[in-house]
């Protein structure tokens, strides 16, 4: 085990080279709905238990099912209203279980990226080959069901190995060269995209996905009141918008259709979206578009600055 993951170098936030977003936008704003499938009776993983109760653990299972049965369409209609295309963090088995949801999202030109196959299958304990197979299966599923090359990754249930990012990037290259496997949402160290070191040397970016704005973290872990969550989203935006005048920032709202879409929470989410998209100079976009723009336009200047400021490491 390592003391630090080694994916990136220390890179002070102050005085970085300016990130220029399209049309002079200050903030690249994206919403990442997690569309997940949890299994009622998954095989046991030796390192992490899927459910707190023995089978059938219906409290946890059934509220997540609510998200797909009820919450998805509710959230999608709100995103439509504010012109937001979702960047879906997808349990790719959902392509098989609930193709209706996939079709609705594809029709709207939403992005699909990999969140593993099921959110009840953890990376912990997998061999390198097993993790590679799981990642390949998920990326191929997206390609088969949506026609999209899978650009991004968020490990299933945020379960990682030391090799997760390398494997994802490598499988992406095998499937579609530089068109697939070029960004990750797994790291929370920054408000701007960051170049990531990989053993393959592929150009690869970490895109801010924000654990703090994540509705499940807000509602389940931090137990925040819905209207306060709405306020936090607006405050987060205000500051990133202000700082984005100097160099482009990224704001992400990661959502879950069983959290924001509950009847007692939807209003807070909708009001925040209305507020954010009501500003000029906001680039309302997707994870892949942010990563592509960063890699094509800001990657070299970022690497040069990092090298100069971290003593050439």
């Amino acid at each position: 085990m390592k003391a630090e993951p080694g994916f990136y170098d220390y890179w002070p936030y102050e005085n970085r080279p300016k990130i220029e977003w399209p049309n002079g936008a200050r903030v690249a704003f994206w919403v990442a709905p997690n569309i997940e499938f949890y299994e009622l009776d998954p095989p046991a993983n030796p390192h992490r238990q899927a459910w707190p109760q023995p089978y059938p653990a219906l409290p946890g299972y059934s509220i997540r099912d609510y998200g797909n049965r009820v919450g998805h369409v509710r959230q999608m209609e709100v995103l439509d209203r504010y012109g937001v295309r979702g960047s879906i963090s997808l349990s790719t088995a959902l392509c098989d279980h609930h193709p209706e949801i996939i079709a609705m999202c594809a029709e709207r030109d939403w992005e699909f990226f990999s969140h593993g196959i099921y959110n009840t299958r953890y990376t912990y304990g997998m061999s390198e080959q097993q993790e590679r197979d799981m990642i390949r299966d998920s990326m191929e599923s997206i390609q088969r069901h949506s026609g999209q090359h899978c650009a991004g990754y968020l490990a299933p249930a945020l379960s990682h190995s030391e090799l997760t990012l390398d494997l994802f990037a490598e499988v992406g290259s095998e499937l579609a060269g530089d068109e697939a496997g070029f960004y990750t949402c797994d790291l929370f160290h920054d408000d701007q995209p960051t170049p990531i070191h990989l053993r393959s040397g592929k150009k690869f970016a970490s895109i801010p996905y924000s654990l703090e704005m994540n509705d499940t973290i807000a509602y389940v872990v931090n137990k925040i009141e819905p209207r306060r969550y709405g306020q936090i989203l607006r405050d987060n935006f205000d500051r990133l918008y202000q700082e984005g005048a100097r160099s482009g920032t990224v704001m992400c709202i990661p959502t879950h259709n069983y959290q924001v879409s509950c009847p007692h929470r939807l209003r807070a989410f909708e009001e925040a979206l209305e507020y954010i998209t009501g500003h000029s100079d906001v680039w309302v976009t997707t994870g892949a578009e942010i990563a592509r723009h960063f890699i094509d336009n800001c990657y070299q200047q970022s690497l040069a600055d990092i090298n100069a400021r971290s003593g050439g490491h």
Binding site: F37, E39, L40, D41, P43, N45, P46, Q53, P54, Y55, P56, A57, L58, P59, S62, I63, D65, Y66, N68, R69, V70, H72, V73, R74, A93, D96, H97, H98, P99, E100, I101, I117, Y118, R121, G125, M126, S127, Q129, Q130, D133, M134, Y219, K223, E225, P226, R227, C262, P263, H264, R265, L266, R267, A268
Partner: protein, 308 residues
């Protein structure tokens, strides 16, 4: 290092659910439901009337609201008992004041212990459903089937005997089940149950002993969950209820009738500093056009008449 081969096998990866309990169906795609009187939103207020034994076994887990201190945990026993002595009468007053028709989910042991309260509810003509034997008699994966069969049968038959009602509704303590619970409920004359929180409308639930109807009763909006689990303020609970009411009413305009299920407990909202928030919630919901306050069975009946 590697996981067993089966960890990368996905035998249920195909259309629909990964089990055969119910069919996959998106709420927005279903035919519209119309409530009586052209109402848009059915308000279902469900009151949990619970008995938490002082000598709790906690097998296999301690229910939310259960004893947490070494025996005898007088503080929690009496605070829960408060609801059945004091809080519930504040509830009844509020229901009468705002014309709310509520249903009452009794732990059968409580119905045995407090005949006055049972009679009081019965005399109001309100529906009683079964909330299991008591809050320490759990239904859970691994519970012996025969043992559970006896528990379900005893809970239902005794409550029917005590109340004189036919008791067709069920909520498991802690809303937890074993893999056999649905079969046992269907086999004992239960028509609807409220343990699964995966929908905002009723749906058909398959069992080997016949069909059940799963009724939607939000756990996330429950007083105990919001106030005790999330530690939100009373004011926030009120706001959440009002926002949910508005959201569902708005959706009903496009998609047909919806249900707002409020699961509440007199030991929680029946406190003097909280009862006002319940009253404000009921007043707000009652002031909105198109709200139909109804008992659970009435809602089930109205739904079933349209989907058959």
């Amino acid at each position: 290092m590697a996981l067993d081969k089966e960890y990368l096998e996905y035998p249920n990866r195909s259309y629909g659910m990964d089990h055969s309990r119910y069919d996959w169906s998106m709420l927005s795609e279903r035919p519209k439901i119309n409530w009586p009187g052209a109402a848009k939103l059915a308000l279902w207020v469900n009151v949990g009337l619970q008995f938490f034994p002082l000598n709790q076994q906690g097998n296999p887990f301690v229910v939310p609201g259960g004893m947490t201190m070494p025996y005898p945990d007088l503080r929690h026993f009496t605070l829960r008992d408060y609801g059945n002595r004091v809080g519930i009468y504040r509830f009844l007053q509020a229901f009468d004041r705002y014309n709310i028709k509520a249903t009452f989910a009794f732990n059968t042991e409580l119905a045995e212990r407090v005949p006055y309260l049972l009679q009081r509810i019965n005399e109001r003509g309100d529906e009683i459903l079964c909330h299991g034997w008591n809050m320490d008699s759990l239904h859970y994966g691994g519970l012996d089937r025969e043992e559970e069969a006896e528990l379900v049968e005893r809970s239902l038959s005794r409550l029917r005997e005590l109340s004189g009602q036919d008791v067709r509704g069920w909520i498991s303590p802690a809303r937890n089940e074993s893999e056999h619970t649905p079969e046992l409920l269907a086999g004992n004359g239960v028509r609807y149950f409220c343990d699964w929180v995966n929908d905002d409308m009723p749906y058909r639930f398959h069992t080997d002993s016949g069909e059940l109807i799963a009724m939607p009763l939000s756990n996330e909006l429950e007083d105990r969950f919001v106030l005790m689990n999330n530690l939100h303020s009373e004011q926030s609970w009120l706001e959440q209820v009002c926002d949910a009411c508005d959201c569902l009413l708005g959706e009903a305009e496009q998609q047909g009738g919806r249900i707002l299920g409020l699961n509440i407990h007199p030991w929680m909202l029946g406190q003097p500093h909280r009862i006002g928030k319940l009253e404000q919630a009921l007043e707000y919901i009652g002031s909105r056009e198109g709200v139909w306050s109804a008992g659970a069975s009435e809602i089930v009946q109205a739904w079933q008449a349209q989907v058959n």
